[in-house]
């Protein structure tokens, strides 16, 4: 602070007046757009190689590494065998559980079954053993489970998911697609018979079709 009262104020005002006439720094946004740095991380974007095919091999490394779990992806796995999927689960915890399983490798206690009604998992395991824990035989496994329990208990589905390695989402989707698979114990035998009759490939159904169309259906 100077000895002359008000000199600092005058200096400041001189500065602002000088700046009044200086060139401005504003970027006029819609007309002029700022450069985006080459390592900009604001947008997720798949890269293409020189032949125009997507470089992404669906290895899920990015999805695993993403701390906020915003990456959701699906595709054919690296050997071209299965359709694989990451994300969009029914519950948030479901996804984390699987990701943690894959990543850490340590034994993961899975008390999830406790949240559902306690069932005897022996029949499911038997069905799974019968089908060699192969997720490709999912429909057969599910039908076997339904035959064992009369319906599909959620705990059994979780068990199937856990043992076969298939996504719970996939199993659930499979189970909901086929109308003869049900999630509740059949209360009405007529409805059950009706549901069973609608199964594609069912004998009665095929008979009915054969009589209707007049020839054997493949």
């Amino acid at each position: 602070m100077s000895f002359v009262p008000g000199l600092g104020i005058v200096k400041g005002m001189a500065l602002t007046l000088r700046r009044f006439f200086e060139p401005k720094v504003t970027v006029r946004y819609p007309e002029v757009q700022a450069d985006i740095p080459p390592k900009f991380r604001g947008r997720l974007q798949l890269l293409y190689d020189e032949y125009g095919t997507i470089k992404c091999e669906t290895c899920f490394q990015c999805a695993q590494a993403c701390p906020i779990e915003c990456i959701d992806m699906g595709g054919i796995d690296t050997k071209g065998r299965y359709h694989v999927h990451w994300g969009a689960p029914e519950t948030y915890g479901e996804r984390r559980e699987e990701s943690a399983l894959r990543r850490s490798g340590r034994p993961v206690p899975d008390p999830a079954y406790a949240r559902f009604e306690a069932i005897d998992l022996g029949p499911v395991d038997a069905v799974l053993d019968e089908h060699d824990h192969d997720p490709a035989h999912m429909l057969a496994i599910l039908e076997g489970t339904q035959a064992a329990y009369g319906y599909l208990p959620v705990a059994a589905l979780k068990r199937i998911s856990h043992r076969t390695g298939a996504w719970y989402a996939t199993i659930y989707g499979t189970a909901t697609y086929y109308r003869h698979l049900r999630f509740k114990a059949p209360g009405d035998s007529l409805a059950a018979a009706d549901a069973a009759a609608r199964r594609p490939g069912d004998a009665a159904y095929l008979d009915a079709l054969t009589t209707a169309i007049g020839r054997r259906v493949q």
Partner: protein
């Protein structure tokens, strides 16, 4: 590593230490019982041979079996950070003496440790929750407080109910429902 500091510490606090003095990188670590906190820290703070005048950090730790209060100190007499671990606080009712008589600024650090671990610091004049809402009853940084998505340690789907694992008896207002004051 400051070997001289380790020797001085052993000479001064020989029997008070509950474990050997450990040194790694630029840190020296001693372990004491929680009841010894005032004496040891006062000695470290006041005695010119130590002169640890700056409290760099105060942290609560839940090891799963016991609770700890960890102090990090800095002094001109040593190139090391000094870590004082007050060990062996029972998880059911962890209590430790406050160090606000040495560092008044430890008040909020202790409030934070209380908020997150439920460690009661005796002698802190204003020990109440600092981050969590006042009617909150559990202590989030304890190891038995599971996150909803903590897959490695908890059931797969949400575990919101775990928030009420701890119902400390001394939390005022826990029995009251919160209502808007008009």
């Amino acid at each position: 590593m400051d070997k001289a500091l380790a020797r001085r510490l052993e000479a001064r606090f020989g029997s008070t230490l509950t474990g050997p003095v450990r040194q790694r990188h630029d840190e020296t670590e001693i372990r004491i019982a929680a009841s010894e906190i005032p004496e040891v820290l006062r000695a470290l703070h006041d005695e010119p041979e130590f002169g640890f005048e700056l409290l760099a950090d105060l942290a609560g730790v839940d090891t799963g079996e016991v609770m700890q209060v960890v102090y990090h100190l800095w002094s001109v007499t040593s190139p090391d950070w000094l870590r004082v671990i007050a060990d062996g606080l029972p998880r059911e009712a962890p209590r430790a003496p406050s160090v606000t008589f040495l560092w008044k600024g430890a008040e909020w650090l202790e409030r934070e440790a209380y908020d997150m671990f439920g460690i009661t610091f005796e002698g802190n004049r204003d020990l109440r929750r600092i981050f969590m809402p006042p009617d909150y009853t559990s202590f989030p940084l304890r190891k038995d407080f599971y996150l909803a998505d903590d897959a490695a340690r908890s059931p797969g789907a949400g575990v919101r109910h775990m928030e009420r694992t701890h119902e400390p008896t001394n939390t005022p207002g826990a029995e009251r429902t919160r209502r808007v004051r008009t």
